[in-house]
């Protein structure tokens, strides 16, 4: 039994076999079905045949390379086959098959893991680069063992915890989601794609585990605790029992939350809060509605772009928006215009920017590429004839940007009208408050827009000058920092003075601890990962607006983020400890 600590990004407990994605779809079954000496003998023979094939392959590669490039490189592959033929390693594998009813592939995976751990323990560069080679050798051997008959990721028949270095949007798009009960990755932070995806699917996830892909062998039983950010490899019986019981309690609590689906998000003294969902793809909408979302408060349209589709056309945009509108059947849809750049995909060769988060991203990039911007806007307006939509402009830092965007929008509207295209020319245009300058000068922006949506992920990062994916400074990323609360308060107050709508669509909206102060500050709409909606609703239905306002007053007297956090956590604990 081994414990690994990472960053919990999606709560809940998963208990299942590990499936390691980097094995290129090789699924490892740990134990043989048959017992007895004959089955054991067959398994050893299967291993020996696989080994022979892998060595043959290495030698063939070595010969081919020798012809093409010469000795220096080809001897590397000779070395690889020497490692495969290493007597110690081979004995170890055979021993594992004999003693433990392991399948050949599981024994290989376990034996190689031991080697990799030995190398890793050396902690120097020489071994670090050999590690990759060892991994490559292992993969080749595994492929020969599991071959075409292996159950690949696409043919999963039982639930697995998916383990990968990192998950790219294109990878996650093809995952068999119904078979994956947990995610664990080496890389990533709280705002990584894996985190957002896992949250929206309601699947427990732990990221930032550094070396989980080599700490776990495919087929190992793992417990993943997304709330505590912990992964337990090969848990003992007591631990398994303990976690199964905890999972059961969580499932029961979640069932209780499900019963809230059709009741309003209303405080005890009758104040209604609108709860909406954040999505990346229209196909997430049914699940969001199932969780009780009253609409989509943030549609991240930049996910139309990706390595598989670097240049979506106006028709691609239109198709996505019209399918979203159809799914929503009259509920509102807030489309955020392209937020490309910085940590997100760019539809062109990477341009070098010394500081991409302060560079040409988001609305600034749209102004550089008016063609892309206009294609998207045309699609939005064409879709506006089909149902309620509004436009949300990201990364606005000054009134001039807001005005410039509106003039581009005006051009698009006029072009469409000249072409007699049916549109709703009066849809609401709002702006995001995610740059400190926008929050500080919110009174100016409020006069020129229909609604604000406060994006806390960027607002916190820019206000505190902290990149939370950088582990050296991640501890400084404090949403409860007094400066952040003051900025949110300023933006909300400016919106109220001008009588425009104000919602909050950052991750903060879905964090139980912050729900009370956010509604106390006057946010009447919260948009979040749909999986968070029932919990947030539970919190709202457990307090009065009067109390929420008192809590805000109290927070404004606190001078430190830690103090505020523990104060808020205590308030939530009083409502229901399971919420934390």
């Amino acid at each position: 039994m081994e414990f690994r600590q990472g960053i919990g990004v999606s709560p809940g407990i998963a208990i299942a076999e590990a499936f390691i994605l980097d094995y290129e779809d090789v699924r490892i079954t740990p134990f043989r079905q048959d017992e007895g000496p004959e089955a054991c003998h067959r398994e050893v023979e299967r291993f020996e045949r696989g080994l022979e094939a892998a060595v043959g392959e290495m030698q063939a590669i070595s010969e081919r390379i020798q012809e093409e490039v010469g000795d220096a490189v080809s001897s590397m592959f000779t070395g690889f086959s020497a490692i495969l033929l290493d007597k110690k390693l081979k004995d170890d594998i055979v021993q594992k098959i004999r003693d433990n009813r392991f399948t050949a592939e599981y024994a290989v995976s376990r034996a190689f893991r031991k080697v990799k751990n030995m190398f890793r323990a050396k902690d120097n560069e020489f071994f670090a680069s050999r590690l990759r080679d060892i991994g490559d050798i292992e993969n080749r051997l595994l492929r020969h063992l599991v071959g075409e008959h292996g159950a690949g990721l696409k043919h999963l028949s039982s639930p697995v915890v998916l383990i990968a270095k990192d998950l790219s949007p294109s990878q996650t798009a093809t995952l068999p989601r119904d078979k994956i009960v947990g995610f664990a990755t080496d890389a990533g932070g709280r705002t990584s794609h894996t985190a957002i995806l896992a949250k929206s699917l309601g699947i427990p996830a732990v990221v930032g585990l550094k070396a989980i892909t080599s700490d776990v062998s495919g087929g190992d039983l793992v417990i993943l605790d997304g709330s505590k950010g912990r992964v337990i490899v090969a848990p003992d019986a007591t631990t398994q029992r303990d976690y199964r019981a905890r999972r059961q309690r969580q499932i029961e609590f979640a069932r209780g939350l499900d019963s809230l689906r059709d009741v309003p998000a209303e405080t005890l003294d009758g104040h209604l809060i609108r709860l909406q969902a954040n999505i990346e793809y229209p196909h997430e909408i049914p699940a969001a509605l199932e969780k009780g979302a009253q609409g989509i408060g943030l549609y991240r349209t930049e996910f139309l772009y990706g390595p598989d589709q670097p240049n979506p056309t106006e028709e691609d945009h239109f198709e996505a928006y019209s399918s979203a509108i159809t799914e929503l059947a009259g509920r509102p849809l807030v489309i955020r215009t392209l937020d490309l750049g910085a940590d997100k995909f760019l539809p062109e060769k990477a341009r070098h920017e010394a500081n991409p988060f302060l560079g040409s991203r988001s609305i600034r990039y749209c102004f550089e590429r008016i063609d892309l911007f206009k294609a998207q806007l045309r699609a939005i307006y064409r879709a506006s004839a089909l149902g309620p939509v509004s436009i949300m402009l990201p990364m606005i830092s000054a009134l001039s940007e807001l005005k410039k965007a509106r003039s581009v929008i005006q051009d698009v509207v006029e072009e469409l009208q000249r072409g007699n295209v049916r549109i709703d020319a009066d849809i609401d245009i709002g702006c995001m408050i995610e740059v400190p300058s926008a929050a500080i000068a919110a009174d100016i922006l409020a006069r020129e827009t229909k609604f604000f949506s406060i994006g806390t992920n960027d607002l916190v990062q820019y206000t505190l000058a902290v990149d939370r994916t950088n582990e050296r400074v991640a501890h400084l990323y404090q949403p409860a920092h007094p400066a952040v609360f003051r900025l949110i308060w300023q933006a909300v107050a400016a919106a109220h003075r001008e009588r425009i709508g104000v919602s909050l669509c950052g991750e903060l909206a879905g964090e139980v601890m912050y729900v009370i102060p956010l509604i106390g500050l006057g946010c009447s709409e919260l948009s979040m990962s749909s999986s968070q909606i029932p919990t947030v609703k539970k919190v709202i239905r457990s307090i009065t607006m009067r109390d929420a306002k008192r809590i805000v007053e109290r927070i404004f007297k606190l001078s430190d983020a830690r103090e505020t956090e523990s104060f808020l956590r205590e308030r939530v604990r009083q409502i229901e400890p399971e919420l934390l």
């Binding site: 020497a82 007597k87 080697v115 120097n124 071994f127």
Partner: protein
């Protein structure tokens, strides 16, 4: 049956990486004797590439070659020769 040991200094540029370890293991496999290589008190099987690499021996490391068996003397001489030839590496 005899036991022979010999201390050598690793002189090739990149140390005991995959290729030299493979050469040592291949040479060792030709002898009946049990062969081991040790560095800083850590002794590993001279017929196992993986174990030899795991020594992390760099250029300038002192290695002790030890053989036990009927052909121990020849085995040690053969491995010593390989180390001294710097595994025919080009500089």
């Amino acid at each position: 049956m005899s036991e022979v040991t010999k201390t050598v200094v690793l002189g090739n540029k990149y140390g005991l990486h995959v290729r030299p370890a493979t050469m040592l293991a291949q040479a060792a496999a030709r002898f009946q004797s049990e062969l081991s290589i040790s560095k800083d008190g850590v002794e590993v099987d001279g017929k196992s590439v993986l174990e030899m690499i795991s020594l992390g021996a760099e250029c300038g490391s002192e290695l002790i070659i030890r053989a036990e068996g009927d052909d121990a003397a020849e085995a040690v001489a053969s491995l010593e020769e390989l180390v001294k030839s710097r595994f025919h590496e080009e500089e």
